[in-house]
């Protein structure tokens, strides 16, 4: 299913014309195209191989102050016409809101240079298969206590996105991402422990199987010795991937759309101190090392760097054109949308500024390297969370004990105010879309032994 950029552009243009000819005042089209290969190994050979090629198209149509949405995975002219008709029919029932509308305009196509995000290399299938097999075999070779590597795999995903509207916007970008993961199950003396690690990059050579194997073996072995802690209050430092996941669970706090809809507990608090003054947080759409770059948002607006929290003071929300109009501020190019969904707001690459506390890892603290159940144990409205966790108890930066079978509970928004210290060294998360130093949160509640 090979389709050129020009073909897609022509199909988009005809779809926009259909919408305007059918009575829309304005229309906007999103297209997402993806090609993917996945390889998994079991018992020393490739056990699963998957390839795919898909395209989705979504449309928003505006009629007066009403918007309608529809999408299709069928690309024939009649299918796209039906999609337009559905969107127009849907628009008749949505609320009238002067803030919503298709507003972003452009004088010509925006075709950013995506060469850094899309490697043209052709990696032979044999090399890819060999890497997939190593993801299973290396942990087992490193430590005989590894009884099975039930989940491992290599993914190569190439994507292309298009945003276009009837006001002249036409943007397209493309990217390719290589990712691999391995998850080892270890057993000794009847006790089982597990750990998973992944590696990502823009080139095949960026993938580090050896590192993944080393980490899963080391950490699973530590977990074999893990024990609960006595219940009580502990200072906590989250391992960076865990911190990223936790912040994502509460990123509603930066969402202007949630504020407009009375779902954001930080609504009305711009300019207020909501966190420790040691905390400054940025959203950086084009950080060079980031794997989540954004050249344009889901409306075609170009985003710039955004300081969300400035020394604990809430400075910005993520805005699209609708929320910007509602709040009477300029849009900051943070519209988010998939072809099949409504317009929302969201960020790109998050950076927490390093601090000056060289002693952030002094004394006694719990380093959390696993938080389960984030999808169900976090309440972004109240900020409450109660989550099972695993980690390590440190005293003066020396590990004393691996920890498991405990839960960590607290209130996220209170936690931000009670930061004890922020370290000086910035690190990337595995995703390379989150960068942060060590952050020490004070006195969180642990239930355990």
């Amino acid at each position: 299913m090979s389709v050129t950029v020009e073909q897609t552009r022509e199909e988009i243009s005809r779809t926009l014309d259909m919408a305007l000819d059918s009575g829309a005042d304005a229309a906007e089209v999103l297209v997402a195209r993806s090609e993917k290969r996945t390889l998994k190994a079991q018992k020393g050979r490739i056990s699963e191989s998957e390839i795919s090629s898909t395209r989705s198209i979504g449309i928003r149509v505006q009629r007066g102050e009403q918007l309608g949405i529809s999408y299709s995975e069928s690309w024939g002219e009649s299918d796209r016409r039906k999609m337009v008709e559905m969107a127009l029919a849907n628009s008749l029932h949505t609320k009238r809101d002067p803030a919503q509308g298709i507003r972003v305009s452009q004088d010509g196509p925006y075709l950013p240079d995506c060469s850094a995000e899309f490697s043209e290399e052709q990696v032979p299938l044999e090399e890819q298969e060999a890497l997939a097999v190593r993801l299973e075999s290396e942990p087992m070779a490193r430590d005989r206590r590894v009884i099975v590597v039930p989940y491992s795999g290599l993914n190569v995903t190439s994507g292309e996105s298009f945003v276009a509207n009837s006001l002249g916007v036409f943007c397209t970008d493309r990217s390719r991402l290589y990712s691999c993961y391995t998850y080892a199950l270890m057993e000794e003396n009847g006790i089982r422990a597990d750990f998973g690690e992944s590696s990502l990059g823009r080139r095949f050579g960026d993938l580090d199987v050896g590192h993944c194997a080393e980490v899963v073996c080391r950490e699973a072995a530590l977990r074999l010795e893990a024990k609960p802690l006595p219940g009580g209050s502990y200072d906590v430092i989250f391992q960076i991937d865990v911190l990223e996941a936790l912040l994502e669970s509460f990123d509603l706090m930066f969402c202007a759309l949630a504020a407009k809809n009375k779902l954001n507990p930080m609504a009305g608090k711009l300019g207020e101190k909501i966190a420790s003054e040691a905390l400054t947080v940025w959203d950086l759409p084009r950080k060079p090392e980031s794997l989540r770059k954004s050249y344009f948002d889901a409306e075609g607006a170009v985003p710039e760097d955004l300081r969300l929290l400035d020394r604990g003071v809430l400075r910005e929300f993520y805005h699209n054109s609708e929320t910007a109009a509602f709040f009477g501020v300029p849009s900051n190019g943070r519209a988010s949308r998939h072809p099949k969904g409504p317009l929302g707001t969201g960020g790109n690459c998050t950076l927490v500024e390093p601090g000056e506390d060289a002693g952030v890892r002094s004394g006694t603290f719990l380093e959390i390297d696993d938080l389960d159940g984030l999808h169900s144990g976090c309440d972004p409205i109240s900020g409450d969370f109660s989550l099972p966790c695993k980690g390590k108890l440190f005293v003066d930066n020396q590990m004393r004990q691996a920890v498991k079978d405990v839960t960590l509970a607290g209130n996220f928004y209170r936690m931000l105010r009670e930061i004890q210290g922020i370290g000086p060294t910035l690190r990337p998360a595995t995703s390379r879309s989150f960068f942060a130093p060590d952050i020490r949160f004070g006195k969180l509640s642990v239930a355990g032994d």
């Binding site: 079991q42 989705s56 089982r192 009375k262 999808h375 169900s376 409450d384």
Partner: protein
Amino acid sequence: MLDKQIADKVLEAGKSTGADYVEIFAEQSYRSSLALLSSEVENCQSGIDAGVGVRLVFGEQVYYGYTNSMEEVDLIALVFAQKRGRGEGAAVPALRQLEINQVHPCLEGLDRDVPIPEKIEFLRLLDQFARREDRERVAQVRAGVNQTRQRIQVFTSEGTMAEETRNYIRCILSVIAADGSRQSQAYEGPGALKGWEFVRSLNPEELAGMVGKRALVKLGARSCPGGNFPVVLQSGFGGVIFHEACGHALETTAVAKKASVFADRLGEPIASSCLSVVDDGTLQGEWGSSAFDDEGMPTQRTQLIKDGILKSYMVDLVGSIQTGYARTGSGRRQSYRYAPASRMRNTYIEAGPCSVGELIASIPYGLYAHKMGGGSVSPGTGEFNFSVDEAYIIRDGKVAEPVRSATLIGSGAEVIQKISMVADNLELGEGICGSVSGNIPVTVGQPAIKVDQILVGGDEE
């Protein structure tokens, strides 16, 4: 949808690669969703998902490919992109349409849709009744309904042709209560393998009142204490404890890889003797049901555990090849974008002899989990967790004050040994389960049960 003659040619192409088994899954799904927020229609959208997945099985090796195209040339190319054809291979038997023995009737699906203004009116009623609980403190209400009409075709190199149209509907209600700087939310999501007639069977006043009250109770609740307690889990969505604690570990997805704590334990006592558990894809009109599984096999009722003894796993085609166990019609997938895997359907603990009152009266100090949230599990270690959405302290055999932010964690293999009492009020609750073959509708269910000891996480101030 997919022409039978094209399917024949794709199956032949697949067999020419030397595959032992070839399967085509074609799908066309029409989806519609409507959402009210701040008492206005926030979102009204619809769309069509369409595509084909082709699976080639060589012994225990699986090759899978999918595309949006239903053209013969693209599907043949998809086959040969996975494996080169040798131009030979066993001929494919003539395709025989499987008769549907189970029927899940749908009166008002998206092909006979109810006018949108009628749907909006129902959502407005939910909004009004929820706000009526406390006009000052109910700060926001989100009411929505999502419907899907999924048409699927499964063609196999064994000559099977199965076609089914599944109509799903789910009503979503979320209420946020606020009091000064404090906020809380509550949620319900009833659903069924039915059309709009399911919504007609709901009582909006009762549903909205229940959710509104729960949000207000949570608003005033103190933090849950942490520690090891006896816990009573109420019926219905309380069944998520078995789903997370044990269910995933009984899928051959995990068992075949020996990544399950229950692998190689058929016929052994794995649970308390008062526990019997069923996974049933035949329950008429239930959210997790279907006539066929997504491999074209008629669904079944599978007794997983009987009186504490492990009787069966949930077995899909590849799981059957890997383990030698007979298939149970448990092959499921979110869409054509996924190869199927063994998954749960409607999974429930069977009713027992006790009353709910007896369970609570047996506990001097513990927790009553009236409404569960979601959870997750690591099948390889058996460690599970789930959140409690509405909970109360039990004190001296009586339900006492409400508490919030409770999480239950433990080991699946241990917790099912600690179920000591099972009540007689079996109910089911709807949810979405995410795993290797995507997000699928499932129900969980149980009567109220008592677990003698489980670790409760809390943030008592």
